[in-house]
């Protein structure tokens, strides 16, 4: 399937809605004092969400003003699929290794910290896999 997808104003609108939802959620959490008061150095979970929203605004603005057409063709879709499969397999093996390590020496890390590390590691693996597979094809 040869398809050409270009980042349009519609995509920017979706991101804007997501940013508004994140800011609203952050403000509501702050208003009702819900969540931890020591969350990754952002003082509250609400502040963290607002921070993420502003990062999204920055990234979206940079992409929008670059005005560079982003073409997604069948080769890129295949590379994405392979990279996702690789990341999934690595995640499975990592989960298995963590289970064994936890059995040997219990992990005392906070759940939120652990999940954030897991998400970052998955993203890093995905980017590495994408770049490696891109060279091959």
């Amino acid at each position: 399937m040869a398809s050409k997808k270009i980042v349009t104003k519609k995509a920017v609108m979706y991101r804007a809605v997501l940013v508004i939802v994140l800011i609203a959620a952050g403000l509501i959490l702050n208003l009702y004092n819900i969540g931890s008061n020591d969350f990754f150095g952002y003082s509250t979970v609400g502040n963290f969400l607002i921070y993420i929203a502003f990062i999204m605004i920055l990234v979206t603005a940079i992409n929008y003003f670059k005005k560079k057409d982003k073409i997604i063709d069948e080769r890129i879709e295949m590379i994405r699929y392979k990279a996702m499969t690789f990341t999934f397999m690595v995640s499975m093996f990592a989960a298995f290794a963590i289970m064994i390590l936890d059995g040997i020496n219990p992990i005392t890390m906070r759940y939120s910290t652990f999940v954030s590390y897991a998400v970052c590691a998955s993203l890093i693996f995905y980017v590495i896999a994408y770049k490696v597979i891109e060279r091959k094809y």
């Binding site: 399937m1 040869a2 398809s3 050409k4 073409i71 063709d73 069948e74 080769r75 890129i76 295949m78 091959k136 094809y137």
Partner: protein, 64 residues
């Protein structure tokens, strides 16, 4: 799979970027096809054949 994309492209004085724009893919995809690294879908093979003004897909893509 071997392709004659580069050969026909040079004949018609078309750049990789121009051919990529004609068939709605990236320049890197055309490059991969030319180097035989990537096998295209039937749809893409057909589009490339038409873009290069050839009658049959087998004229451009050769199975080895």
């Amino acid at each position: 799979m071997r392709t004659k994309i580069r050969e026909f492209r040079k004949e018609q004085k078309i750049t990789q970027e121009e051919l990529a724009a004609m068939v709605d893919v990236t320049r890197q995809t055309i490059n991969s096809l030319e180097q035989g690294k990537y096998n295209p879908s039937l749809e893409l093979a057909y589009k490339i054949t038409k873009a290069l003004n050839k009658e049959r897909i087998e004229d451009v893509f050769i199975m080895e």
